[in-house]
């Protein structure tokens, strides 16, 4: 009772801020939490009932974890987990590093017009869908007509069968992903750099600090909170792979599966025949739970180091 009173008092004191979160909270309730119970079908043998979706869920039989089985049963389940985790880890580390470097360099370029042009240019790949990107990758790597093999032949090296040599593909995929994402990713850091209070730099200059010192002592520490948050959020998605990158860019070539098959492509292929929504929901839940656990762990570590920078 007393607790309730205290709680009500808190609500009263935070009235204005609660009002601020209200529209967003309503949105989350409607568009995220209302559909969320639907995830129960991951544990059910979903059978359609003419009485609607909810009746279908309720009338379907519980089957425990059977819908999850296909994700764990074979040697592929290890490969897809490994690929998904490793690629995403590399994307997070390299993507963040490069984005930060690019943001810092752009912020340093004195010629603002050029800075803007470069920055716009880097943004363009974001507008090309993976299907279109796959055309270009193919125009480079095609065995007989590809630019790269023509070049190799020209300098007297044997052409490479790019689409059957799996050892090249980790590099190709990482490169393509960075190429597509760094321009987009750097925007956040650029905005963070611009937002830094100018007086810090002025003080540093008066003290005679060099540009490198300013970057190391002011810029990087000031954008660390945003880097940390981006990192934590990225960890949450580490079990989800970009379907287009791993399916379209290698053109679904079987010989490359050992290095291109990730959870999302595996699920897509596996469910093409039966279209089982219980199993697809199960895959989503699997990815979410692992991501969730990893975020909690990461957040815990961050909290230990610096409470202010943690997600919660």
């Amino acid at each position: 009772m007393e607790g309730l009173m205290r709680w009500l008092k808190m609500v009263g004191r935070n009235k204005a801020l609660l009002l601020m979160v209200l529209p967003g909270a309503v949105w989350f309730l409607l568009f995220c939490y209302l559909p969320m119970p639907g995830a129960i079908i991951a544990f059910k043998d979903y059978k359609f009932s003419t009485d609607g979706f909810l009746a279908s869920i309720i009338e379907s039989d519980w089957i425990g974890l059977k819908n999850f089985e296909y994700l764990f049963k074979t040697e592929d389940s290890w490969i897809i987990v490994r690929n998904t985790l490793l690629y995403n880890a590399v994307f997070i580390v390299l993507g963040t590093t490069l984005s930060v470097i690019v943001a810092i360099i752009i912020s340093q370029i004195a010629n603002k017009k050029m800075a803007k042009i470069y920055q716009t240019g880097m943004f363009l790949p974001h507008f090309l869908s993976w299907v279109i990107v796959s055309y270009f990758v193919f125009s480079f790597l095609s065995v007989d007509k590809g630019v790269l093999n023509q070049f190799l032949t020209f300098i007297g090296v044997d052409p490479v069968f790019w689409y059957s040599e799996k050892e090249y593909w980790p590099y190709i995929l990482v490169f393509v992903n960075l190429w597509k994402g760094v321009g987009y990713g750097s925007v956040i850091y650029l905005a963070a750099i611009v937002g830094i209070d100018k007086s810090y730099f002025e003080a540093a200059m008066i003290d005679g600090a060099s540009k490198w010192q300013q970057i190391r002592k002011i810029t990087i520490p000031m954008i660390t909170p945003i880097i940390v948050i981006m990192f934590i959020l990225a960890v949450g998605g580490i079990f989800r792979a970009d379907f287009g990158l791993f399916y379209q860019v290698p053109r679904d070539t079987g010989a490359l599966y050992p290095v291109t098959n990730v959870i999302d492509t595996f699920v897509y292929r596996g469910l093409k025949v039966t279209g089982n929504i219980g199993m697809s929901t199960a895959a989503g839940l699997y990815q979410a739970v692992v991501g969730f656990v990893l975020v909690i762990v990461t957040n815990f570590i961050v909290r230990k180091i610096n409470k202010e920078q943690a997600l919660f």
Partner: protein, 320 residues
């Protein structure tokens, strides 16, 4: 990174004395050039395929099939564009739809996201942990496609309305959490305190003191939201049957998925129908022309956002 610093110390030091008169906040010419070179090359690599897209869209279709992609096609042609404008009066309509959802959606999104993020960025907000968590939770967990569809179409009755394209993506937990960090680190508590002392309420402080100094952050999430709306096709796929409400990107994606579908479904009933369908699909030049038409407008809108995070970057140059 470390390496760079070491190198700088070697090359930089002799220069320091000689150019004492130089503004210390400028990079040395060598490093300036290196910056230009590195960033310039990278952005060239990014522009290059897009340039290719433009050139292919102006290439003669037969020449393309014969010679493959080429920077200097032997035959140029405007066919792809005349084809698009002739066959689809849809295009202009779709521009309108996309423009509307992008503008309205971005504004709505900015309003909701920034309010929410500001509230949970304040350390004195008692419920900040809870509201941060319920936002974050939605980034990972969802009910799946069918339940979401039911909410939008059967609970909210948004099917075949323009709101089905706006509301389902108007809030993003990602933007909220990024914005929260911006508010936390970029808005000094002192400013808010001073506002409070002047007797301003929470909303007043937010609108008159906080927002003006948060423009880079707002521009960033505004940009992300605008791009999200501009590039969205999935909501249209699910919720729009009425061709009058189809956004631009969904026209483009439809062409792509149709082509993929036909090529991958050799079983499409009998060979003759399949080739009849395949024939009705637009040629590659037309597809590329669609990409150009769908991208160019947003590239022109880009500087509007960009000026907030590239302008004023002349950090130490502001001397008083």
């Amino acid at each position: 990174m470390d390496n760079g610093v070491v190198v700088e110390q070697h090359t930089g030091k002799p220069n320091m004395k000689r150019k004492k008169m130089r503004d210390i906040h400028h990079l040395t010419p060598f490093w300036n050039m290196m910056s230009h070179l590195a960033i310039g090359l990278f952005s060239l690599a990014c522009v290059y395929p897009f340039l290719f897209v433009v050139i292919i869209s102006f290439t003669d279709e037969k020449a393309l099939a014969r010679d493959g992609y080429s920077f200097f096609p032997k035959q140029w042609s405007l066919d792809a564009y005349t084809y698009i404008f002739k066959t689809s009066d849809q295009l202009l309509r779709s521009y309108g739809v996309t423009l509307f959802i992008t503008v309205v959606g971005t504004l709505l999104s900015l309003a909701i996201v920034s309010l929410y993020a500001y509230a949970i960025s304040r350390s004195y907000f008692h419920f900040r942990g809870f509201f941060s968590f319920i936002a974050f939770f939605t980034m990972l967990f969802g009910g799946g496609l069918v339940p979401s569809y039911i909410v939008v179409s059967q609970v909210l009755h948004l099917k075949d309305t323009i709101w089905a394209l706006i509301l389902p993506m108007c809030v993003s937990a990602f933007s909220i959490l990024i914005m929260r960090t911006f508010f936390k680190t970029m808005v000094p508590d002192a400013i808010i305190e001073s506002g409070k002392i002047d007797g301003a309420g929470e909303f007043r402080v937010f609108f008159y003191l906080v927002l003006p100094i948060s423009l880079p952050g707002l521009a960033t999430i505004g940009l992300f939201s605008a791009l999200g709306y501009w590039n969205d096709w999935f909501n249209a796929l699910l919720y729009i049957d009425d061709a009058k409400l189809l956004p631009l990107q969904s026209l483009l994606i439809k062409i792509e998925t149709n082509i993929q579908f036909i090529l991958q479904n050799s079983a499409v009933s009998g060979g003759t129908e399949r080739s009849a369908i395949a024939r009705s699909l637009p040629a590659e030049t037309t597809r590329m022309a669609m990409v150009v038409l769908a991208t160019v407008p947003i590239i022109f809108a880009y500087p509007f956002f960009q000026r907030y995070f590239v302008q004023g970057l002349t950090i130490g140059a502001v001397k008083e």
